[in-house]
């Protein structure tokens, strides 16, 4: 008889207790994200896709000094210099092979002109190998700059914390 009472107690007390835990979790905020529709905002220091920065008048910051290519541990950067309209030095070819890039951020740290920086985007899927070879046109920020306050914040934060000297 005692065992029967115990078993009935299990059914009517212990099991609802367990189910209550499940029920509580139904109303909690989920820890997962509905990924392709909702995206997690990345931290300001996140190292995502590469950008080539311009001056305010639209001219390129990059002077093709080759320090980023020298600092790159994966040999992902290739560049060729040329002379611009006003005699300034600039990059004729500037290519980053995203299949080689390991997103270590050394190019950003090495750059004396603060020309290259790593932004927040992180989805690079493509169906052709050639589309991973990014040229200067892919990476230059548009001019006049589109109103993208998010990107300005990144630049500001990076300046505040500073790019470390190596």
């Amino acid at each position: 008889m005692k065992e029967v009472i115990k078993a009935v107690g299990h059914v009517f007390i212990k099991m609802p207790q367990g189910l209550l835990v499940t029920l509580k979790h139904l109303f909690k905020k989920p820890v997962t994200l509905d990924y392709p529709r909702k995206k997690k905002p990345m931290m300001p220091r996140y190292r995502g896709r590469h950008y080539l920065e311009r001056y305010d008048d639209g001219s390129e910051r990059c002077v093709c000094c080759g320090l980023c290519a020298a600092a790159c541990p994966a040999d992902a950067i290739y560049m060729e210099p040329e002379e611009g309209e006003h005699g300034e030095r600039r990059a004729k070819v500037y290519e980053i092979n995203l299949l080689r890039c390991i997103f270590c951020g050394f190019c950003e740290e090495a750059c004396p002109e603060e020309a290259i920086f790593l932004g927040q985007e992180y989805e690079f899927a493509a169906d052709k190998r050639n589309s991973f070879l990014w040229t200067k046109e892919d990476m230059l920020v548009p001019h006049p700059r589109k109103d993208n306050p998010f990107k300005k914040i990144i630049r500001r934060v990076r300046k505040v914390y500073g790019v470390t000297e190596q």
Partner: protein
């Protein structure tokens, strides 16, 4: 009447097996359901990192070291930086040392949380995996906040760390640790007294103390067999001698002890982080003398640290140039794979999976 007898047959477990944590192939000789012989075949994840590093400058080696063992990248970066600093006899700022300890211990917690989830999933419990990943995410967020990457950090550099911690890190770190400390009781409640879990782990895969010492097993696996040996205490590096923490030891050496010991280690790591956060001094985070073309003097060193899997060592030879002459890394998982055939025979495949999971082997560290 003819006598019935069984015939041995060979089963390939892996290289693409979900419980081998990477690409490890185990050639099993089976007699019915019992394993007679195990032959691990390694090398599927060989990327020649050691050779690649011979063609990179010292600074460029750091992101390469990240890939040696990507679950605790911080310790790999740290051991290479430490080896280079020992050759160059370089001073590291005090704040950088504290930051390094915080990052190393956070990474140890993240690795053990991953172990908790993955091991339980291998053995058949699915909920712990979600629990472990959920809390690991808090720590990964801290890393992303500090160094900008979630898995391969490139944070600890020769002569310090790359960046100072951002504003709000300390508070966020404390709240993350508080959440993990609260959830620890959930973890223990879920598995420690679970009869299925106990049947699968208690008394399974006992690794004797003598065998463990003979094969150079280190880290939590060695401590679960009853040897109190931790490089943080026995060969102190960085500033670990300043902190007050215990080295948890278990004596049975079975799967359950290897599992519970890691949960104990999470608590000790949290103690260390709290002490480091309290005593965090102000100042520089990097030795300013280190340039991109940094050349240490000629010399050689073997430097070892305790990462979440055991002894991680780097044998570094410098000839005075800007590239290392030879880098040899010693991963603890290599020894743990070697020991697998010696104590996992005469058991079922399911128990072998439990053994493999609780040894916490990660293949990139084996093959490099």
């Amino acid at each position: 009447m003819r006598e019935l007898r069984t015939e041995e047959f060979i089963v390939n477990m892996g290289p693409q097996h979900p419980s081998t944590h990477g690409v490890c192939r185990l050639v099993l000789t089976m007699d019915g359901e019992k394993i007679v012989k195990i032959e691990p075949v390694i090398g599927y994840l060989h990327r020649a990192i050691e050779k690649v590093m011979e063609n990179r400058t010292y600074s460029q080696c750091i992101p390469m070291m990240d890939r040696v063992e990507y679950v605790t990248s911080m310790s790999c970066e740290y051991v290479f930086s430490l080896a280079t600093e020992r050759i160059a006899e370089m001073e590291v700022p005090e704040r950088a040392k504290y930051l390094r300890v915080i990052m190393l211990e956070l990474n140890r917690i993240a690795s053990h949380l991953l172990f908790y989830g993955v091991t339980a999933m291998d053995i058949g419990a699915l909920t712990p995996f979600l629990y472990g990943m959920r809390e690991r995410e808090l720590i990964i967020d801290l890393f992303e906040m500090t160094c900008g990457q979630r898995l391969t950090y490139n944070y600890i550099r020769i002569g310090g760390v790359s960046k100072d911690i951002p504003k709000g890190f300390e508070q966020k770190c404390r709240s993350a640790l508080k959440v993990i400390a609260e959830k620890m009781s959930d973890y223990e409640g879920l598995l420690n007294e679970n009869p299925i879990w106990l049947k699968r782990t208690k008394g399974v895969g006992i690794l004797p103390k003598e065998l463990a010492i003979a094969y150079g097993v280190s880290g939590p696996n060695l401590r679960a067999s009853g040897v109190q040996y931790d490089l943080r205490r026995n060969d102190p590096y960085c500033i670990y001698d300043k902190f007050d923490f215990d080295i948890p030891v278990r004596y049975n050496g079975d799967c359950f002890d290897r599992y519970i010991l890691r949960l104990d280690e999470i608590k000790q790591s949290m103690r260390i982080i709290y002490q480091a956060l309290d005593g965090l001094p102000e100042g520089d985070v990097k030795n300013k003398k280190v340039k991109l073309t940094f050349k240490p003097p000629a010399g050689e060193t073997y430097t070892r640290i305790e990462n979440s899997r055991g002894e991680l060592g780097v044998y570094l030879i410098s000839d005075g140039g800007k590239k290392p002459l030879r880098v040899k890394t010693r991963g603890a998982s290599f020894n743990h794979v070697q020991i697998l055939p010696h104590f996992s025979t005469n058991m079922l495949i399911a128990d072998l999976v439990a053994n493999f999971a609780t040894l916490d082997i990660i293949m990139p560290e084996v093959d490099r």
